[in-house]
Symmetry: D2
Subunit: 148 residues, 4 copies
């Protein structure tokens, strides 16, 4: 799907919002790409991000799916809007066993108030991407509210 952004400066707005998220700094998440209705985030492996078997924790996998969807949606919002995740649902389909986590999200319905997204999370091992989680998410546009 092709979306026309309502605010031309959407990319800078997304980058600034991402930079304000303390949690993205803590887990060393990188905003790699943002386009109208799309966002990609990377998180390199670190022992501090693991569950009991030493793989990426489901909470980190959920975080990347959710944050990518939030910013895929935010890229389509008006200048004076902020963004709120209403809900998300995540299936973990393979262990998060690898050196890098990649979350990609696409808006599949760009409603006035609600944006619906699908996120795919891949784990990269020896340079090969493998689907490790699939999510479906509902994101809300809050108008005339500061994002900061």
């Amino acid at each position: 799907m092709e979306f026309v952004p309502r605010f031309e400066g959407y990319r800078k707005k997304v980058e600034e919002s991402f930079a304000r998220q303390g949690f993205m700094t803590l887990i060393n998440a990188k905003l790699v790409d943002v386009n109208p209705g799309f966002c990609e985030i990377h998180i390199p492996y670190d022992r501090s991000l693991t569950q009991q078997h030493g793989f990426f924790h489901a909470g980190i996998i959920g975080t990347v799916a959710d944050t990518a969807a939030g910013y895929a949606s935010f890229s389509l919002m008006e200048e004076q809007s902020t963004v709120l995740t209403v809900e998300y649902k995540l299936n973990l389909v393979a262990p998060g066993d690898g050196e890098l986590l990649i979350g990609r999200s696409n808006v599949i319905k760009n409603g006035r108030t609600l944006k619906i997204c699908r996120s795919d999370v891949f784990v990269v091992k020896n340079g090969e991407e493998k689907l490790c989680a699939a999510a479906q998410l509902t994101v809300m546009e809050l108008r005339k509210r500061s994002d900061g």
Copy 2:
């Protein structure tokens, strides 16, 4: 619901598994309570756990909902089993604005292979608990597999 654990040493098994999760250390999560089919986890507020408005990040809220459900389920599993989250769905119902996050999860169906849980996440502000998220989760018992 009252559940009878299949392994008497379930509490120690849960504590040891929790301690192996590097991510629980990173975010300073505390395993506060575990009983057959129930688990409670606390996470004190820290600026490093926030989204762009300075509240607890949805990823942290999802993490506490998921981890509590995983260990509520793990408390009912056999000695030689490990635990895997199949999927979870989370509604964020109020901002995570407070000094402490509390996740409580109850098993509502204790199937042989799949355990179904409901988790409630509360944020505590000035000593008062407020529901900030509600989740429903599917957890799998993997038999004859090490948890370590």
Copy 3:
């Protein structure tokens, strides 16, 4: 939770809306109870409502969970509003094997635009209720829109 309805005639409004749903007539669903933030619906067993093993079809189980949540939410809305399900998530926890299906839904968060509900679906066999599904749902209030 105790909710105060915004429109005193909520019960009649719910009953009339329910009566307009052709699908409720087709599957012989009964609106058994509605209170502020709560709704209960019954569906008697019929061979025409089954999946391949002769039990209640997952689609019927989802329908009762969704419709109960919709009307639990509708009971809290303004006189001039209509209701829309945004999304729902349903776990099927036991076969729908019995003579009656009961859906009960409670609003757990009564937001201005979005209501979050939990629905439990029970199947009754030989007079005994058993949980067969658990759902979590997001319902939207559309203001100044006719429900008819």
Copy 4:
């Protein structure tokens, strides 16, 4: 994704299972296509399938999403297996306003025990397809159990 079926007679097995579902007959659902890991189901509009505004009921939309996923998964199972929906999550993204409902589902992860699917539901109005719902589902293979 390309999947290799484990049982060559999968198509006949799916058709026979579909035919045993009383509910598919009641709502006049047609099994239009089944391939390894894919299924498409159609439901023509009828006043008996509606919610209060005269559109396809969310319960019908959920039914088509779920049934398509069940049979997309069933097409990949062993001869002696039956199928069970563990859970599904459905976003309703546009009103079910049209003359035909189309559900298409793809398996996105073909696990030994669990199959994960995504279903898209379209409503056709004046010959034009429009996305009206998106779902993500978890389906279980039960081995050595009759489907009848």
